[in-house]
Every structure is written in C-alpha cells, then in structure tokens.
C-alpha cells in the first residue's frame, strides 16, 4: 500500500513539474527544446522501482497534463517521446559502467528523436530533420543536467525506497 501512495505522490510531482516546464519560455532558435524536468521523476522511478512504475507515472502525467493544458495531439506527441526515451533508458540502465547521468543523457536524446520522428510523420516532410543536430546537442546537455540532479536526489532519499522491503508487495 505504501508503494501505491508513493507512486501517487510522484505522479503529483511529475504533473507539477510538467506545469512548471510549460511556464518556462521556449527557446526561439530551436522549437521544442525543453529542459525536460519531468524526466527527473522518470529517471528516479526507473532506479527506485522498475520501468513499469516509470511507464505508469509517465503515462498518467502526460494524459493529465494533456487534458488540462493541451489537446489530444500534444498527448500523442509527448507519449511518443516519453516511451522511446523510457525504452532506451531501460536498455541503457543494463549497460555496465553507465551511471545515472549517462542513462539520462540517452533518455534526453531519444526523447527528442521520438518527437522528431512523430513530427516528420505528421507533416509528411523531412525538413524537420534539419533540427536534428541542435536537438541532439540540446538533448545531451539537458539530459546530463537532469541526470546529475536525479542521481543527487537518489543518493539523498533515505533507505533507498525501492529496495526497502516495505515497498515490495
């Protein structure tokens, strides 16, 4: 039961972070470049629990944010990025020698790639791939920042909640 409450709490946090991110200004030179602070929660969950919990929270966050501030379109668009990045992060986590920062960098970059692919499919034009280099750099830098912050949070949360027997069903 404690696990359910904990995941609920993190869902709320993810939604708030998603809202905060919407308030941040858009970079004029590169459309769609965002800090990705909601990825903090995803990376944290991926390490504290498993990819399943991370996917659940991402899904709830995107649907809630989508219905509150966006539309059906923005939900699909976000889901594509979130799930490609979660898939790649889950795989990257299995690579030995890659720390949270590296996993988060992979997440940031693949999130951008996922959205770019959807964008290219929707507009049926390859012109969006001209932004690929910028998005690659941006994804790496934001991913690194998020990775460093989430590893610091992960270190400081007492008792490593995910491994705590209380949280196992």
């Amino acid at each position: 039961m404690k696990k359910t409450a904990y995941i609920g709490l993190l869902c709320a946090l993810a939604i708030i972070l998603g809202y905060v991110e919407m308030l941040l200004p858009v970079f004029p030179f590169a459309p769609g470049v965002k800090l990705g602070i909601t990825n903090l929660v995803t990376v944290f969950l991926l390490y504290s629990f498993t990819y399943k919990e991370a996917a659940l929270v991402s899904c709830i966050r995107i649907v809630c944010i989508g219905f509150m501030f966006g539309n059906l379109f923005s939900i699909v668009y976000s889901l594509a990025g979130a799930f490609l990045s979660l898939l790649c992060m889950t795989l990257a986590k299995k690579i030995k020698g890659l720390s949270m920062a590296g996993v988060s960098v992979i997440g940031g970059v693949t999130h951008n790639i996922g959205q770019l692919i959807i964008a290219a499919l929707v507009v049926e034009s390859g012109s969006v791939f001209f932004y690929f280099p910028i998005l690659l750099c941006a994804g790496t830098i934001t991913g690194l920042l998020i990775g460093i912050v989430s590893s610091e949070i992960y270190k400081r949360i007492p008792g490593r909640i995910g491994n705590d027997s209380v949280f196992k069903r």
Partner: protein, 124 residues
C-alpha cells in the same frame, strides 16, 4: 559520472556539432542561389513565394504567415493551442523551417533551383 558516461556525452556532442557544421556548410553553399518560401499543408504543396515581396499569406483558415522586406519569414497567427510556431520567431536561411504541428503546416526555405529541378524531372 563514469568514464563511459563522459565517452557517451562526448560522442553525442561531437555528432551534434558535426551535424551542425555540415548543415551550416550546406546553408552557405545554397546562399548563392535565390531562396524561396515553400508552404505545405498536410504533406501537400500549398504554394511557393519569393522572399523579395513583402506580404502576408493566409494559409487555409488556420495560419497566417508574413514575409518581411528583408526576406525574413515568420508565422504571425495560428489557431492551435500551443502557438509554438508563432513563438519560434523568424527564419531566413536555407533549410530553416517553421512547423505548426497541430495544423500540419510547414513553412520551409528552399532554393530556387530545387524548384527548377522538380520541373525538369516532371518534364522528363
């Protein structure tokens, strides 16, 4: 942070910067040709416009874009909820584009010879 992390970050940044340099190179070599604005909606060609004429172009009922005197193109109106395309600002160089995803509108700057090539291939 471990060695592999730094390695990964290094590779990704290098790839990004290299891509950017290549893109800039393409832009430079294309700048000698005349640039035009190509508008497409839902993957279909909507129209091509010279950057020399100052004008406002209505795209369907959803978007309005503007060409300024100095050839800079911007989206000035859109009925989509996020208005990302309007916030993006102005584009001028070859290869740059403004995309309004909800309305599937793409503003793209291409060179004029791309157009002639297309006509040639149709003529063939």
């Amino acid at each position: 942070m471990k060695k592999k992390d730094l390695f990964l970050i290094g590779i990704l940044l290098a790839a990004g910067i290299m891509g950017f340099v290549v893109f800039k190179g393409i832009q430079k070599s294309a700048s000698s040709n005349e640039q035009i604005l190509k508008i497409s909606v839902d993957g279909e060609m909507y129209g091509e416009y010279s950057l020399k004429n100052k004008q406002e172009i209505k795209i369907g009922n959803t978007n309005v874009c503007q060409i300024e005197e100095d050839g800079r193109v911007s989206m000035i109106e859109a009925d989509c909820p996020d208005h990302l395309c309007v916030k993006q600002g102005k584009i001028k160089e070859f290869g740059e584009s403004i995309v309004c995803l909800p309305n599937k509108v793409v503003l793209e700057i291409v060179t004029d010879d791309e157009k002639t090539e297309k006509i040639d291939s149709i003529a063939k």
